[in-house]
């Protein structure tokens, strides 16, 4: 059962990934991306990382994709097709990507991963929250603070960059 779900999710991810980077309509690309992100969240669910999946859905699917769509609307007529892409470029892209896939996969297949049998730790929201705010060995208070500062800076930065320059 789980195997089948995983395959389905994988298929969704791969197919819509391809569509995202190849479709001519930009808005469609955004929508395909949304599917990919959703399927990713699904995989997180399968790992039993529910909080992460939720974050994925809210931040990525809910936030970023909406932002992207907004920007598309701000900069494009929705119906216009994207420009034709130079065949050379496509060829180059395919060759390097294909080569990359080949190289990485063949490396991976030659490598044996030692699966661990240790007991998984608590991945409840409660546990996550504790870990995030703890400053003990497995605590993440420092990155958490850093990220919050970063987000604040981003907010200000984004506003300043996008602000209309006053003549």
């Amino acid at each position: 059962m789980e195997t089948i779900i995983f395959y389905i999710l994988s298929l969704v991810i791969l197919v819509f990934s391809v569509l995202t980077v190849t479709t001519k309509k930009i808005l469609r690309a955004a929508v395909y991306l949304l599917f990919v992100l959703g399927a990713t969240a699904g995989i997180y669910f399968m790992f039993n990382y529910n909080f992460l999946a939720a974050v994925q859905l809210t931040v990525y699917a809910g936030g970023i994709v909406v932002l992207i769509i907004f920007s598309i609307l701000l900069t494009h007529q929705i119906n216009t097709d994207l420009d034709k892409i130079n065949i050379k470029k496509i060829a180059l892209g395919i060759i390097s990507s294909g080569l990359g896939i080949f190289l990485v996969l063949s490396t991976l297949n030659n490598h044996h991963f030692e699966a661990s049998n240790k007991q998984a730790t608590d991945s409840t929201i409660h546990g996550i929250g504790r870990a995030l705010l703890s400053y003990s060995d497995n605590g993440y208070i420092l990155p958490f603070e850093v990220i919050s500062v970063l987000l604040l800076a981003t907010m200000i930065g984004a506003i300043i960059i996008a602000k209309k320059v006053e003549e």
Binding site: E2, D83, A120
Partner: protein, 105 residues
């Protein structure tokens, strides 16, 4: 740990996804679509982190938290990127990456 699925399966999927993102980044001309490609790449990496966490080191949650922070940063990045894109569009009425070459030489 997903029943019946080895780490190789997951890594295969994410590898392909990663390079699809890379392909998109290399070929798309539109800045927004390039941004989307980047999101694909990031997602592939996120899944990898989680998978390694889950399969190889289940006893702590580093991969999990790493993914979370990446998502946070990705959000920030997207916000700034889009702000920049909009600004560029305002200035040169195009968001074609080939038109943006002020940084040459």
């Amino acid at each position: 740990m997903i029943e019946g699925i080895s780490i190789h399966h997951i890594l295969t999927v994410t590898t392909i996804m990663f390079f699809i993102g890379a392909y998109g980044f290399l070929t798309r001309k539109n800045l927004i679509t390039m941004l989307m490609s980047i999101e694909l790449v990031l997602n592939a990496v996120n899944i990898n982190f989680v998978a390694f966490n889950k399969y190889l080191y289940p006893e702590n949650m580093q991969g999990h938290f790493f993914s979370m922070f990446i998502i946070g940063i990705a959000a920030a990045e997207a916000a700034v990127a889009i702000a920049i894109i909009i600004n560029i569009y305002r200035n040169i009425h195009s968001i074609d990456v080939e038109d943006i070459e002020q940084m040459k030489y």
